[in-house]
């Protein structure tokens, strides 16, 4: 029988097909060993040594390996490097590498790759690692599993840096044969997943690497859906189009956590909110700076804005990290704050005027946090003019040294090492410091070359206390990391905020 279709019939068919295609009404397939993750950002480029990129770090960590890593509770842990020994002068670091690590293309990872990553590339190319590893004068390959790093000056922070941004081992043979562009197009690492597909700013498809030295991951296929917008990430998990959504608001995470099929993880992590202080205007008087710190009720702010999860901090470091003096407190004390302001010649009736910069939406809760502080300061005689700036403006002001008395900032440090907190944040020799005075460098410089870990950590604890008592920074709270996931995902929260699907087990 020959179908007898008129033009009208054809039109109907086409229209019907069009409508049907618009109404698929399904949710993304999620099997027991596949996982989709809504994630707030992409890697800048698939060369893990090129850029230090906080958001991209968890993504790089899926495909590449680091010499050292961290456990979920922030304990330094062996990875490719199983043992390490620094010389007393801090100028030599001997490292033992695993002998069972393979890259995704089958090549064995050896000390040659380690040398290539941390010495040859940084010296030959313009990478972010060039500056990080500038003190490395050579890396001796003693054997395929033994490398000796030599430094021109002691680098006590080399160990945390081996587990920090951009410190991923890349395969020398493959990269030199395909070149950097070839590598970026088809990256090869030794991480738990190989890159299966990639669409910039949209989706990263990963397949489990069965030959992974730490055992093949339980999730065989992982897809990162790059969703920059927080409401889209919330909708993605609420609609079950993904199995896990990271970095959504505390309020939404708590709401979705009530869903019987979902769980919410809302935890403090190693990022810290801190008011960067400028030695200008009203804050040139240390009494006003200290009053400003005493006037802030951090517990109340945490309760109001972060559900009480964000831990108040007294120094610029996270609780439980080596540079945090747990015996030290800088209490909320409105009466003392008012007295200090009065001592400086001001009062609630005759307030001291300061300018307060904040971003709005760059960091979770940044603007609200700033507004609350302005209110608290107003009660004791500090009248702050709150100005909203873009993050790029912040960088320009910081560079030009024109930040005002107070600027809201969230400082990230996934290692917990004190040098990567106050060592950079407060050191006038680095571009990140807002407060510039020679007494800071005088105290920090010895710590940058202190090779005894215990002395170094103790030194930073003392420095942090001193810096806060001078009013050189006003630490506020630890950041909060949020994830909402299906109950079957087996999510593991990391104290440094990492999203690591290779650590999750469906169940």
């Amino acid at each position: 029988m020959t179908p007898n279709l008129t033009r009208r019939d054809m039109g109907r068919l086409l229209a019907g097909a069009g409508l049907a295609s618009l109404l698929p009404g399904r949710v993304l397939a999620q099997t027991a060993d596949t996982l989709s993750i809504a994630y707030p950002g992409d890697v800048p480029v698939w060369d893990p040594n090129l850029r230090t990129h906080v958001v991209g770090h968890s993504l790089f960590k899926c495909v590449f390996d680091q010499p050292l890593t961290y456990t979920p509770d922030l304990k330094l842990s062996p990875a490719i490097v199983t043992a390490w020994q620094a010389s007393p002068d801090g100028k030599t670091l001997e490292l033992t590498l695993r002998d069972d690590v393979s890259f995704h293309n089958g090549d064995r990872l050896t000390a040659e790759d380690f040398r290539y990553t941390f010495f040859e590339r940084p010296h030959a190319e313009k990478l972010d690692t060039t500056g990080i590893w500038r003190r490395v004068s050579d890396i001796e390959v003693a054997s395929p599993t033994r490398a000796i790093m030599r430094f021109s000056d002691a680098m006590p922070s080399a160990i945390p840096w081996l587990s920090f941004l951009a410190s991923f081992v890349v395969p020398k043979k493959y990269m030199t044969s395909v070149g950097r562009d070839g590598f970026i197009a088809r990256p090869v690492g030794s991480g738990p997943y190989r890159l299966a597909s990639y669409q910039q700013n949209a989706r990263i498809g990963l397949e489990a690497f069965d030959g992974y030295w730490d055992g093949a991951p339980a999730y065989k296929q992982v897809t990162f859906e790059i969703l920059n917008d927080v409401s889209s990430r919330t909708a993605a998990i609420e609609s079950r189009r993904v199995g896990l959504s990271s970095d959504i608001s505390v309020r939404e995470a708590n709401r979705l956590g009530q869903d019987p099929q979902l769980k919410a993880s809302v935890e403090p992590f190693t990022d810290i909110y801190v008011l960067q202080v400028g030695n200008t205007g009203g804050f040139t008087d240390s009494r006003v700076r200290l009053a400003a710190h005493h006037a802030i009720d951090k517990v109340a702010i945490s309760r109001a804005l972060f559900g009480g999860v964000a831990k108040p901090i007294a120094v610029p470091a996270a609780h439980g990290t080596p540079g945090y003096p747990e015996d030290f407190d800088f209490p909320f004390d409105a009466a003392r704050a008012a007295a200090l302001v009065k001592e400086a010649g001001f009062s609630a009736e005759k307030p001291v005027d300061v300018t307060f910069f904040t971003t709005n939406g760059t960091f979770p809760g940044d603007y609200d946090l700033s507004r609350v502080i302005v209110q608290m300061w107003g009660r004791i005689g500090i009248r702050a003019r709150l100005e909203t700036i873009e993050f790029v403006q912040y960088q320009e002001r910081l560079r030009a040294g024109t930040l005002p008395e107070a600027t809201m900032y969230r400082w990230g440090n996934m290692t917990g090492d004190p040098e990567l907190y106050s060592g950079y944040l407060l050191n006038p020799k680095f571009p990140f410091a807002a407060w510039k005075s020679p007494d800071v460098s005088a105290r920090l410089d010895p710590l940058f070359v202190e090779t005894d870990p215990e002395k170094r950590f103790a030194g930073y604890r003392e420095f942090n206390k001193w810096a806060v008592l001078q009013g050189y920074a006003i630490p506020l709270l630890q950041g909060v990391t949020t994830s909402v996931y299906r109950r079957t995902v087996g999510f593991v929260p990391y104290a440094n905020g990492w999203i690591r699907p290779s650590a999750y087990k469906p169940g």
Binding site: G18, S21, A29, P44, K126, T223, D229, S232, S239
Partner: protein
């Protein structure tokens, strides 16, 4: 004849491109932002910052920077991204098809629904439904794209589970990018299911873009029709015995189309602007998404190249509209 009509428009477009490039270039450098500072690694020193500033030529006078950039453009080079450390040209080229597809779908939806709405409103003129239509179009036109986007996600994505809202296609339907246009690529790959999936992914973002165009087209078309329908030639057509439908489709609609076409041309430019937020909300890997990322990171080379491409897109659409005008209105060809 057509060429003689187009040439002045092309020259004007070229001047516009140069003007926009100068404006964008100079304005970006007047803004208080430090793209190099944004891309410094922890532990970087002031010397590192200065070296990077020199590397990107940002220490040169603005005029010299512009001339270097312009010379690069003539060679087909858009510079290097400060944030991504990649050539900007290929980066832009890789995302333009996604935005072009989205804008085309939004324009199509807005135009189809707008014309349909205009005809309906014209048909119900002088009835109580006319007021209802006016209120409805007022509501549609006053709500911005991103609100429609979020509302669409909540209604069709979260509540009804009817439409996808992440990216351009589901992971299992990814096909090799041959043209960059997902609808075309899925067809070329011979994957009808993937094509349907791509259409479904296009539905919400394209609707969010097109929904603000439709009511404007509706209103302009309705008012144009109301003006045209009382003209002498329309009365003559009726006297010749044509039905109302024939009068409408053969005579009135053709004449009422000209102002509508102008409006669509102008609105298409705004639609490009609307892609910025819509692409971010839907995780759409297009120029808007790239632009927003570049703005957040102060990536000047990407911002200025993307702005230029947006400008070219708008000019291209205007040129197409002008050509359509010439085609529909023979009197313009005589000028």
């Amino acid at each position: 004849m057509i060429l003689r009509a187009i040439l002045p428009r092309l020259l004007a477009a070229l001047m516009m491109v140069v003007l926009v490039s100068v404006l964008v270039f100079v304005m970006l450098r007047q803004l208080p932002m430090d793209p190099v500072g944004m891309s410094l690694p922890p532990g970087a020193t002031e010397a590192d910052r200065l070296a990077l500033t020199r590397e990107f030529g940002l220490d040169r006078p603005v005029a010299e920077q512009y001339l270097r950039w312009g010379a690069g453009l003539l060679r087909g080079e858009f510079g290097v991204s400060v944030n991504l450390r990649r050539a900007v040209g290929p980066l832009i080229a890789s995302v333009v098809p996604a935005t072009a597809e989205l804008v085309a779908a939004g324009l199509l939806l807005g135009t189809v629904f707008g014309i349909g709405g205009g005809l309906v409103l014209f048909a119900v003129r002088r009835t109580p439904w006319e007021g209802v239509g006016d209120v409805l179009t007022s509501i549609l036109v006053s709500v911005p794209e991103f609100v429609w986007a979020i509302g669409g996600i909540l209604l069709f994505g979260v509540w009804a589970h009817a439409l996808p809202f992440i990216g351009r296609v589901d992971p299992q339907n990814v096909v090799a990018a041959r043209t960059g246009f997902m609808l075309l690529d899925t067809l070329l790959a011979g994957r009808p299911a993937a094509f349907a999936d791509a259409l479904a992914h296009l539905a919400l973002p394209a609707t969010a873009l097109g929904i603000t165009l439709a009511p404007l087209v509706t209103r302009i078309l309705r008012s144009s029709l109301l003006g045209v329908i009382v003209e002498d030639f329309v009365q003559m057509a009726r006297l010749r015995g044509l039905t109302e439908r024939q009068v409408l489709t053969r005579h009135a609609l053709r004449n009422a189309a000209l102002p509508t076409l102008s409006l669509i041309g102008v609105q298409a430019g705004f639609m490009f602007g609307g892609t910025l937020l819509v692409e971010v909300i839907f995780g759409w890997p297009g120029l808007g998404n790239l632009m927003v990322t570049a703005v957040r990171s102060g990536d000047i080379p990407v911002i200025q190249a993307a702005a230029l491409v947006y400008c070219l897109g708008v000019l291209l659409i205007n040129l197409v509209v002008d050509l359509a005008y010439l085609r529909l209105n023979p009197r313009l060809r005589l000028r």
